[in-house]
Symmetry: C2
Subunit: 287 residues, 2 copies
DNA sequence: CCATCTTTGTGCACACGTTCACAAACGCAT
DNA sequence: ATGCGTTTGTGAACGTGTGCACAAAGATGG
């Protein structure tokens, strides 16, 4: 099926009145940048099998995209292919790596060494491509001093020294949600300008700092949405259409809501339908 | 800064000649669906603080989007606001939950109980919103029998029975990349129709099955790309422009490549520039 | 009941992303 | 050399997403 998922909704800062940069300073569209790692992975696999060249069609299949998109993506990098032949695997690996900035080393700090922090510290894909764990940090004295993936867990107080000393520009936040913003602020203050946030929190950062988020809960909810749709696909006609109807019905409902919901924290909504699993897609507030 | 990240590049199946569904069967755009969980989270927080109503401006700030977008998003669900006042928090929580399918319970199986699997099993955000871990599965006999987050780890062979018995429709893959496709096939075969994939692999699934992926490595690479750009932003004029130049220069480079790269698996590219960190953005293959 | 103020809902224009489809470029055989 | 088959690179059309700006709708006060 392949859900559309055009925008995965990730930009964190609410476009704080900023200068409205086209976000593709030197021409490469964001959508393309997001796919480059995919191509790189497929190419690396081909490289390991000593395949010398690959056509856009083959590579596209391996990367899970269609060939037209792939060719257009590559066209932003330059004309690295040979018509009638395809692309030189090794050459392309190098070009993409260079474009992504993977020809240099990126030290990374991980803050919050709980279950997830541990998992990330042990993640093999880290070192494989230019990323190096510069330090594991935690605020909990009980955790500090232990070790994960062969690295000692150090105290948050060392953050500033580590970031400055090792030129760390990327930080990974794996703390509980409550601590995320605070940790984020400290990372930024220390000089980190790119943050990967695993905490289910909207982070606010100053201009010039990039934030990407990974949120299990959101992904599951999106899946649930589509799953639900699959379940009730036959009765496409009705399916809660009344909710979308304007006019008196809606207006009345609105009044009703406010009338009884003054103090808030009432029941979710006046009279949830008594029907079971399937009945959730009935009409307006039960009616 | 807020990277654009329009498409996070996630659709897995390469549009397998399918029927080209607009992916918004009943009108709600994918981009909106992806933001609903964000709104829901913000609304839940307000609800816990017993805030009765909220304006689009306030809610938008809390969710990290702009208010026009939020209003447009809500307009796809129906007109649930009151002009001059705002939105009823409790009512919206219910409506969004219903739209996302969170008013029912979604049993989930997690396959691959390594570091990451453990972390996910312990993840609180699971049960909080309609998701319930139906079972933890692993193929490794050394892991089977142990327990994580109070649940026993069961053997892969029980998968089919569990999926059928508990009506599981969502599966989470946290296996090593090599096993992911195989596990995926088995999940699908057993009846799972939505998959959340944490393994760095492109999964191929039949039509009707949704796949979303979460890939740490890709996220980091995207951050690195932007980080690199920040580092070299002054010399916007040149910046490896030659690579993009067509004509004889390029053609010659192409020939050169193929001439020496016959057997493949040669060095990354003929003569990597001898320059250091900063020099990576020089000209064509050194020239 | 009217005036005023607030906030929603949405038409419209624009930016971005995707896909088609085809000419140009290349390898290779004759 | 010439012609043929293959594959790239890209112009153009289309679809999706975003943001502005404003009319309409309701609240509030007199």
């Amino acid at each position: 099926m392949a859900i559309g998922r055009p925008t995965q909704s990730s930009s964190q800062t609410p476009d704080a009145g900023a200068a409205r940069r086209p976000s593709r300073a030197r021409g490469i569209p964001e959508a393309t940048v997001a796919r480059l790692p995919l191509y790189l992975r497929a190419l690396t696999a081909l490289s390991e099998r000593s395949v010398p060249t690959v056509s856009s069609e083959e590579l596209a299949t391996a990367a899970g995209v269609n060939s037209a998109k792939l060719r257009k993506d590559f066209s932003y990098l330059g004309s690295y292919g040979t018509r009638g032949v395809g692309y030189d695997v090794e050459y392309l690996v190098y070009q993409i790596s260079r474009e992504l900035g993977l020809t240099q080393d990126w030290p990374v700090v991980i803050v919050g060494i709980g279950n997830l922090g541990h998992a990330l510290a042990n993640y093999g894909g880290f070192a494989s491509r230019g990323f190096r764990v510069a330090a594991l940090l935690d605020a909990d004295p009980a955790v500090v001093g232990s070790s994960a993936a062969g690295l000692p867990v150090r105290h948050m107080d060392e953050l500033e020294a580590i970031v400055a000393g090792q030129q760390v520009s990327i930080g990974v936040i794996t703390t509980p949600p409550g601590a995320a913003q605070q940790v984020c602020d400290r990372l930024v203050e220390a000089g980190v300008t790119s943050i990967l946030n695993f905490a289910p929190t909207v982070l606010t950062v100053p201009d010039g700092v990039d934030v990407r988020k990974v949120d299990l809960s959101i992904e599951l909810q999106i899946l649930a949405f589509h799953e639900q749709r699959k379940a009730g696909e036959e009765p496409t006609q009705d399916g809660g259409m009344l909710d979308r109807a304007p006019g008196p019905v809606r207006a009345a409902a609105a009044k009703l809501r406010r009338a009884a919901g003054g103090t808030a924290k009432a029941e979710p909504a006046k009279g949830k339908p008594g029907k079971g699993t399937e009945g959730e897609r009935s009409a307006v507030m039960p009616a």
